[in-house]
Symmetry: D3
Subunit: 127 residues, 6 copies
């Protein structure tokens, strides 16, 4: 649980966002440039520069957690798709992602899992 401080938070966050979310992350940052440029900074700094940069949990496990949470919440389908793509980027297989989403039927109900699966279908088709 040590925090890495060798790089600026923003630079570290930008590097990790690019590595994890790829184009999807970049598009989010760009889309904020007119409406709320400071929020793009916060997005790079806290989620990516602080949290994803932490030792103690590998990025594969982090994407499992994020895909599960966004599927269960059901309020952010666009961000779920970004993280399904991110899951593939960090080494999760399509089958593993499908398993994570199906499991959410237990905790958040069948509609949440169905909507997650339909999101996954779109992401997989676009690759």
């Amino acid at each position: 649980m040590t925090k890495i401080e060798t790089e600026s938070r923003r630079a570290r966050g930008a590097r990790l966002l690019a590595a994890i979310d790829g184009d999807g992350g970049e598009r989010v940052v760009e889309s904020l440039s007119d409406i709320a440029p400071d929020f793009a900074d916060y997005l790079l700094e806290f989620p990516f520069g602080d949290i994803y940069a932490r030792e103690g949990l590998d990025v594969r496990a982090r994407e499992i957690a994020t895909i599960a949470a966004l599927t269960a919440m059901g309020t952010a389908p666009a961000q779920l798709k970004v993280h399904i793509a991110a899951g593939l980027n960090v080494g999760l297989s399509r089958d593993e992602i499908v398993e994570i989403i199906m499991q959410m039927a237990v905790y958040a109900g069948f509609p949440a899992a169905l909507n997650g699966l339909f999101g996954a279908k779109e992401v997989f088709a676009a690759r």
Copy 2:
């Protein structure tokens, strides 16, 4: 993603519930015996007999997903504590569980993560 069919769903579910959730799971099943005994069957059969029994995602990954989802949802603190204990049972370290919960601040806000951490604190103290 093959379904294992060598054992009855209920027996397989009971075996997995005991292995994963330990005493916490057993107490839930017992507490249903008067109000809704059939629901105890469903709980053994679908979540454990069907979902947790699936190949394609190891139980460690499954508990990461569940801890993340229950922290993010924030509506089932008792079940979150059962799954924090389950996470320890299947090999997650305390630090890994703390990392998963902290990460939920990004997706579900700081109060959700704080409440998850306070739940973890109780579970860790009770061991």
Copy 3:
């Protein structure tokens, strides 16, 4: 879908609240008398004086809907217990209430249904 206008909304609401929620509803109204007395009026007027007073859906069906919704939402366990008691008051059997709550496992997940069942257990035991 005609609105009944023969009685004041407040009087009609108070009558229906007493008939449906019994003591539980009265206690809620009393508990608002110091902090937000106007809100007690709104509670009598809109939910009970307007909505529950409407023709077009009998009160039994209305309590099915409310028990289902509060179980699925999971954020108002005290109000769910008031409406489980209300369900019994308007003629739902214990078994029917248990069925409604169990069904919510499908739409909102097993933890939501479990928490609803534990609430029902408390209400049934107190009768």
Copy 4:
């Protein structure tokens, strides 16, 4: 609350899904055939083969509960529309469905009820 075991869960679920959800249910099952065929089985088996098949609550009451819950949750508008159509299939009138959804303004707020009503409008128009 006895479970019916005279037919396989899957066959019973498929029969009930067809009777209740009609085309909408079939389309959901088909749309899962490439991404998660096992999840189509679970959907037939647990919600329909287990829950909707249960005695103790008629299917009309079950659809009241489901329409209420999905309206209140607000996270699954497509599934809500499937169940508004299902409600009509099992004998709920348009007015009764509108009453159920309007009542959700009390428990989940006006936006949830408005979004449910707009969903109902689409379903009614398509008939």
Copy 5:
């Protein structure tokens, strides 16, 4: 916290809805005229005729509260856009609205704030 009773609730609600939500509110009322005309009455009467008409909190503060709540809930993006426009109508600046939405990252997570910002972007562009 006194309730104003000099005007009918419906008339007062219609006046306030027009003043606050402008065209957006009128369109909602009109869209209910076929499916649930009584619900249009309730919408005018309770939220606007009762709540927004109350002394004790100015309408600027009320729109701050509503924008925050709808951003955090994440289940009613259309209504959030109506209230972002309403916020501008009652004197909130674009920057203030952006600040409110960004703050929701703390309480409801980054995806909720991002979706709120994208909604604001659409509303601002349409002016």
Copy 6:
């Protein structure tokens, strides 16, 4: 919307947390010292050091937004009470706080508003 950088984020956050949340905030930070000390840092740095420190929205407006959001979400009653106290600390009157919470009945339903009012009652009584 400029970010103030004259003080370290952590120091600024600690200063603002003390000014806004008072004892309640300090207790949260202390309660994290054994389970997740880094999370206490993040809590000081991002919500308080970054967000509450921003120009463009005064702290009174920020607390209106937070009280509204936490009431509407209904998943963090302890944090809602901290922010009701914070609202009093930054100059909101008891009546204004009650108005904000009552208004949430419109957007998140009567149970959410009732639970918020009961939380306010506890905070007011403890002063």
